[in-house]
């Protein structure tokens, strides 16, 4: 009995202190790895509004709304599972997964919300937006700013 207790004590005392006073000090060994899947970020400039991300998202948190020539993508990240599928399928690399994982907040709707507005071509007949083939085409559509 005492031998096993001694062995346990040896295991315990071998490592002494391993914890950190976390928010004040971080463990340098445990920082996020380079391809960590943290909170996603969307680069509106790169987005072409193809909505492929909305299509694959398992938790259906990307809501696409069209108003005239503007396509708006809303990311309600409070439901995000950080699977990174959106980043994976994005053809333009507009969505990237950052290393940010400390996303606890008490203002969920403000802090955990991303949105991107993309100017798209508007169909002359039906008035809906459509994807332009190239960036150049998009810049030539009426109403495109900058």
């Amino acid at each position: 009995m005492f031998l096993s207790k001694l062995k346990e004590a040896v295991i315990c005392f071998k490592h002494l202190r391993v914890t950190f006073p976390y928010p004040l000090k971080r463990n340098p060994e445990a920082l996020p790895q380079p391809d960590f899947r943290g909170r996603p970020r969307i680069d509106a400039a790169k987005c072409i509004g193809c909505a492929g991300c909305a299509n694959v998202c398992p938790s259906r948190l990307i809501i696409v709304t069209d108003r005239k020539a503007v396509r708006r993508l809303d990311f309600y990240l409070e439901r995000c599972t950080y699977c990174g599928r959106c980043a994976e399928v994005c053809p333009e690399g507009a969505i990237t997964m950052t290393g940010e994982f400390e996303t606890a907040t008490d203002r969920v709707h403000d802090d955990m919300h991303l949105s991107a507005e993309v100017y798209m071509g508007t169909c002359q007949r039906c008035g809906r937006c459509f994807e332009t083939r190239t960036t150049l085409d998009r810049m030539m559509t009426t109403g495109f700013r900058t």
């Binding site: 207790k5 346990e8 004590a9 315990c12 005392f13 490592h15 002494l16 202190r17 391993v18 914890t19 950190f20 006073p21």
Partner: protein, 296 residues
């Protein structure tokens, strides 16, 4: 009068520090930082300021809480601190009953709330004391028989004067084994058992009322450590003045660390196993008593 006030002050205001050291040591075994050294003080202060949550079935209210702290402090007055006890007029039976009264207060307060967890915790607390109190009183009676006195001051004097004796060491060892349960530390913190009983008798307590019991526990810890070190392990013998006080502080810390170590490397036992174990310890204490009777 000064001695009385000083003893009360030391018991109330220095004992949380011992608890802090104990917790820090336990954290070391756990490989974690652990709470700050002064955390027990903050705990008590925080509890004193919180709402006093009361059960709607309560009859006694916070009365047992005051009485239990008062009884433990009164018991502390009988125990030699430094070289003599603050009050000379009391003996070990008074001490036993005062400590018993304090734990009865917690049990009554638990049952007063009407919570089933408290009732289970009360049952466990009582059953633990059925087997732990005998160890305590047999050990103390051994010391009393050896020193021909029922007063702690005389018992503490005995080994100083007439040297080490076998019976005292056996009784001291038995008392050390019982200490774990007296102080509600693992493996014998069965009455509280946060895991299955959510604190047992304290399940419905919070705020200043709970602070009284917590404080009482901390005081009890020091009182028992003092008894153990003063009466049964008074080495090194022959110290005087500041040295004696220093040795006493070191010994109390040692006891705290030992209790913390045993606490850290054991799981909580079941009540029937604890009872079985303490029957063995009672037997050991009785052996000490027999040794005392034959004069060893």
């Amino acid at each position: 009068m000064f001695r009385i006030v000083a003893t009360i002050g030391i018991l109330l205001f220095l004992s949380p520090l011992i608890e802090g050291i104990l917790r820090k040591f336990k954290a070391l075994v756990h490989s974690r930082i652990g709470p700050p050294l002064l955390q027990p003080y903050w705990d008590i202060l925080k509890l004193l300021g919180k709402d006093d949550v009361r059960s709607p079935h309560s009859l006694l209210g916070p009365l047992p809480a005051w009485l239990s702290l008062a009884a433990l402090l009164a018991a502390g007055l009988l125990v030699p601190l430094g070289t003599t006890a603050a009050i000379a007029g009391g003996d070990l039976f008074l001490f036993l009953y005062l400590v018993g009264f304090a734990s009865v207060c917690t049990m009554l307060a638990g049952m007063d709330s009407g919570s089933p967890y408290a009732f289970l915790g009360m049952g466990r607390e009582m059953m633990t004391s059925f087997v732990v109190e005998p160890v305590l009183f047999i050990a103390l009676i051994t010391a009393a028989l050896k020193s021909h006195s029922f007063r702690f001051a005389d018992m503490a004097f005995f080994q100083q004067v007439s040297g080490t004796s076998v019976s005292m060491i056996i009784s001291g060892a038995a008392l050390l084994l019982a200490l774990q349960a007296q102080l509600s530390k693992l493996p014998f913190d069965i009455p509280e058992a946060e895991g299955e009983l959510m604190g047992g008798v304290f399940a419905e307590m919070s705020g200043p009322t709970f602070a009284m019991y917590r404080w009482g526990f901390i005081v009890k810890q020091v009182v028992f450590a003092l008894i153990l070190t003063q009466i049964f392990f008074p080495w090194p013998l022959g110290l005087t003045g500041a040295w004696a006080v220093a040795a006493q502080v070191v010994k109390v810390l040692l006891v705290a660390v030992l209790v913390g170590l045993v606490d850290a490397v054991n799981p909580r036992l079941r009540i029937d196993q604890a009872i079985g174990y303490y029957f063995g310890v009672i037997l050991m204490a009785l052996v000490g008593l027999v040794f005392a009777l034959v004069g060893a």
